[in-house]
Symmetry: C2
């Protein structure tokens, strides 16, 4: 049986999953988190399903070393390409970010349909922005249509958003505005009720996306939805932390250097201590 004192393992290819860690810390401040970012091999969003599955499994195997009560795959690409296999690979529950986002988007679309709304068809359409690999996997449309076959999903890969965010560009930047307008154009031409921010980096640009699309479109940020699923899962397992103290956050990364610390606070919303360095070779030996 899972110990309530055990940490939650959170995995991402890099830094973006810290937005999920942040949502968990806000909702469940007593939980300790072991965060793993595969910064030596990121990004996953341009890579094949086989490689994404293999890398993610190696990282989760390493995370199992802290004896977590639960694993969170806080990476949309890994959730889209490999979640089913990963659930077979491990004994503890594995929660992805894709399904919570899909559930929330379907709920928004249904509300829009109930309220009537301005444009016919808008309520039936859900937009999705994500990495090339996530779009190519078709996993979001599959998850959404499993919940409601009448819904349409329009997806668009946005390869420049992650490098723009990691470069430190702000939403007010001229180039950010132009790139967003280009990527979001299909969602203006074919109106949507909800837009899924299908990459954990994207919430950083949420205000600019909202401004481009207008108030009629509800943005779906999977981080908070995922935190709610984590809470429900832990409650079901009777494994919510009983500690009177705030939980710890320990970060593990595969690349050396200051880049993680420099960028991490933008995603976590608080300072991050020096991460623990794990070489990719060490991951291989864990297999």
């Amino acid at each position: 049986m899972a110990s309530p004192a055990a940490p939650i393992g959170v995995f991402d290819s890099g830094l973006g999953g810290l937005t999920v860690a942040r949502a968990i810390r806000t909702l469940l401040p007593r939980e300790s988190i072991a965060y793993f970012g595969d910064t030596a091999r990121l990004p996953y969003g341009t890579k094949s399903p086989a490689t994404v599955h293999r890398f993610t499994r190696q990282c989760l195997r390493f995370l199992m070393g802290v004896r977590p009560k639960l694993l969170v795959v806080a990476c949309n690409t890994a959730s889209a390409l490999a979640l089913a296999q990963l659930r077979n690979d491990f004994e503890v529950p594995v929660i992805g970010v894709l399904e919570p986002g899909a559930v929330a988007a379907v709920e928004v679309a249904r509300q829009a349909a109930r309220s009537g709304g301005s444009t016919p068809g808008r309520a039936q359409r859900i937009g999705l922005i994500a990495t090339e690999a996530t779009i190519g996997s078709n996993a979001y449309p599959a998850a959404i249509r499993a919940l409601d076959p009448a819904l349409q999903v329009i997806g668009r890969a946005c390869p420049l958003l992650v490098p723009m965010i990691e470069e430190g560009r702000e939403e007010s930047d001229l180039i950010v505005g132009l790139v967003l307008r280009e990527y979001l154009q299909p969602f203006l031409e074919m109106e949507i009720s909800a837009l899924i921010l299908g990459c954990t980096h994207y919430p950083i640009f949420a205000s600019a996306v909202q401004e481009t699309l207008g108030e009629e479109v509800t943005l779906i940020d999977s981080a908070r939805q995922t935190a709610l699923v984590v809470r429900d899962q832990l409650a079901t397992m009777h494994a919510l932390s009983q500690s009177p103290h705030d939980g710890r956050l320990t970060c593990y990364v595969t690349d050396q250097g200051q880049r993680f610390e420099r960028l991490a606070s933008r995603f976590l919303g608080e300072a991050v201590g020096q991460p623990v360095w794990v070489t990719p070779e060490m991951l291989e030996t864990v297999e």
Copy 2:
């Protein structure tokens, strides 16, 4: 002694090094090339020196399996961060792309100084655009000042160029134009005689860069310079191919999938056959 019939091993973190393979094939069509792209772990340009050295060494160890007469590190980041160590790691000569580019830039600056030129100081300044890691390494300024201590090098990291090129954007694209103008602004304010394209992807945007900077700036594309160094090195070793037939090009990649084939022809200037897939785990066992 090296066999003239042996192939040349060319390494890059991904696809960009195919511009170097192309230059070698143009200059030395009789040579066979074994090209290795570490597509599962790219890009290297945001990673630490330790990780870049480790990954590159693993890939070169694998390439040694084809018994190459020469290794070319056709990756600016790896050349900047790890070339000296790599030369100790292997028995065959290892040629990087950094030094040939630095030599060519110094030659341009000297010619500009001799010819007088329009603006005082222009001849003394060399510009450099490259990845974050290459800029951070200070390797180009060190190589250039070792050749001529009177020269100044102004470097600028350009993190969006590689993803824009891999997204398939053309030079005529509005966003490409704006990003280039932003990145190249320092070289308009402080005039330069030469600009080093310090990443093997960048030649794809050479015309737009030239147009932004004007004809007084000479662009340095290391690919051709490196091919000349390869020729000289092989001649010195008496190892130039004596074959009456054109050489073969075999590609090895660490990621599965169609992305390599889809993008490779843009860099190589000819169709690329299906690459051989090597898992990163296989690289570990080579160590």
